[in-house]
Amino acid sequence: MGDFFTISVLVATLASGIRLATPFLLAGLGETIGQRSGVLNLGVEGVMLLGAFSAYYVTLESGSAVYGILGAIVVGLVMGLIYAFVTLIMHAEQGISGIGVYLFGLGFTDLLFQKNVGTPKPIRGLGEVNIPLLSDIPKVGEILFQHSVPVYFAFALVPLVWFMINKTTFGLNIRAVGETPEAADTLGVSVNMTRLATMLIGSTMASLAGAALALEVGIFQQNLTSGQGFIAIALVYFGAWRSYGVMLGALLFGIVQATVLQLKTLGIVEGANSSLMAMAPAVLTIVVLVIVSRRVAAPGALTRPFDRSA
């Protein structure tokens, strides 16, 4: 354990914690926007897998991570449309239809990977971009300012999402249809159009979260996300449906993951015990949910489809 508490290891762990927090943050912010409008998308995990695979595959074929990200955006929009159709038009039970999206993403990406790639081929992901001057600060620079573009992008989105939800007309509409869709409807806000927009945004961000993950590790494999999408949904509860809260949660989970990885790399935890350590994020999620559940109220119309005739 002594090896862990050295400055260089701690700095590396924190830096990798921020990197690992990025997929959680992107997916969590997207889910926050969706849930504020009253739609629970439990399919984040599946969309992340689809985004990860498309980013990986397009990058592998084209040689450019930029095309990979564009591919992930397209996939995210398509999945958003499908989920919007299922929930907004068909009024499907949101807690279960998301599981369908998850299983589809899990199987389909594995299928495409085996069929089109076969053996794992690494891709060259996005390089690190050092922020001038700031990255030269000892320790702090290494932790905060030597990351790839998706990391900066995800953290820059935090205030933007806050602004969008709280300070724009669109955000007001989102909150209105998420709390009392009937009232919003009487005032001429289109409930389903607003929710369609949040679904598209949320799904695209989930897909980008997967892309960020795939480009970070430079590889794709079956079930690459291993439950991160589900944890991202829990982070929305953790963050009390607020972007800064979600960011705190994402950082917490990123750092926990980085610590687990670091302990494995240093050989402090090995073999079967690493499976035991891998339980940590899920157990932590449950503990966190116990702590926060009584204190925050979910959007009033969460999981409730809107039907004007009802």
Partner: protein
């Protein structure tokens, strides 16, 4: 919440004249109820056909192989029944949970917990004679799964934790714990250098006896059907069942009526988990290898029955007896899927993807079913009412949804 209660109030008010008046609607409605989910499966399979075409495979040969592999002969039917067993057990548990207004996505974890508990029973009591040990491992599985279900139940009832999230997290924990056990405490010591995640061959005293006839059918099939009947009695013929359904229908009214709502939530998830846990035991002791084995991760053991059981339950309209044919149908999809995959030489992941599409379409079709029924009755009898079963299904899932969002 209030609108939903209103909806429910009007729905039950409409039920009254319906039960007295027999109309053409009562003949049309059941067919609509059956046609919609079957139609959803057909649409899902057509999408699967598109998927097969893009993979360069012939979907007609594929689906012919699927049907033949699922229902083509006695052996195929037996295999389908064996695949249907965990779906039936999990599905029956889902009926109990959903009827009580609790969404249980934790079938996967509960299956694993049941499998672990029953394996431990078999290891500890290896010398107990078969006639005692077989029931003991099944009870052990039920207790293991029951505890794994009761935990999110208690968290929901007493700490307000959303059970959708907690059951998913319990799945992740169980999967990692299983992986740990199979590499460490319970690992097969004889396996040598190649580390397969499996236990030793468990005692023969715990093997589920084969049924007469020359197939792989074993006692588990009978047990699963028996549990479905018992669950039906529990839900519809017992005081406990009335209370669970009352809580699921309207938690607030039940509370005012003096019913222990919190206890009911824990009980519902415990029962639900117990059914899934028993599926775990059946998967271990009815398997051909008679080991607890996780091929390529925990889902290799559960075969996603924890998720597919939900679909079987919804397909059966949340009624345990109707889940019997529904799970048989889905069992056929799974055995047939393997035949399809072998025939066309496509990766097995195709079945998982296809599965997901089926889930999505069946769930999406459920509300359509209620709407079409109302429409059929409006046409048939000139207004009024919907079938009570359809309303019950819709309200059960709806309440579960609103409950969980409040949690």
């Amino acid at each position: 919440m209030t609108t939903q209660q209103n909806e429910r109030a009007t729905a039950s008010a409409q039920d009254e004249p319906q039960s007295r008046r027999r109309s053409t609607a009562s003949f049309i409605a059941p067919f609509v109820g059956l046609a919609v989910p079957v139609g959803a499966v057909v649409v899902a399979l057509s999408l699967g056909a598109v998927m097969l075409l893009t993979l360069g495979a012939n979907p007609i040969t594929g689906y012919a192989a699927l049907i033949d592999g699922a229902f083509g002969g006695w052996d195929e039917l037996a295999d389908t029944s064996i695949k249907a067993m965990p779906l039936l057990l999990v599905g029956v548990g889902i009926c109990i949970a959903f009827r009580a207004g609790v969404i249980n996505i934790g079938g996967e974890g509960q299956i694993i917990a049941g499998a672990i508990a029953s394996t431990v029973v078999a290891l500890v009591l290896a010398d107990v004679p078969r006639i005692l040990l077989v029931p003991l491992v099944l009870v052990g599985g039920a207790i293991g799964g029951g505890i794994w279900g009761a935990i999110p139940g208690a968290l929901k009832a007493y700490a307000g934790v959303n059970e959708i999230l907690s059951t998913i997290m319990m799945n992740l924990v169980a999967a990692q714990f299983l992986s740990f056990l199979l590499q460490d405490l319970l690992t097969d010591k004889a396996s040598g250098a190649i580390k397969i995640q499996q236990t030793e061959r468990l005692t023969e005293n715990a093997d589920l006896p084969l049924l007469p006839g020359d197939t792989r059918l074993h006692l588990g099939v009978i047990i699963a059907v028996l549990i479905a009947v018992l669950a039906h009695i529990l839900l519809f013929r017992s005081a406990l069942g009335v209370r669970l359904r009352a809580v699921g229908h309207n938690a607030n009214a039940s509370r005012y009526a003096g019913m222990p709502v919190k206890k009911s939530i824990v009980q519902a998830l415990a029962f639900s988990g117990a059914c899934a846990g028993m599926a775990g035991a059946v998967l271990v002791f009815g398997s051909e290898s008679h080991r607890l084995i996780a091929e390529g991760g925990a889902s290799g053991f559960t075969q996603s029955a924890g998720f597919n059981g939900i679909v079987a339950a919804l397909f059966g309209g949340l009624s345990p007896l109707a889940v019997i044919p529904a799970s048989f149908f889905f069992g056929g999809m799974l055995t047939g899927g393997i035949a399809l995959q072998q025939e066309l030489q496509v990766p097995a992941a195709l079945i998982v993807a296809l599965n997901g599409i089926v889930v999505l379409f069946v769930v999406a079709s459920l509300k359509l079913k209620t709407r079409l029924r109302t429409w059929a009755e409006a046409v048939g009898s000139g207004g009024a009412g919907s079938l009570s079963t359809a309303t019950a299904t819709a309200t059960a899932t709806e309440t579960a949804a609103s409950e969980s969002s409040n949690g």
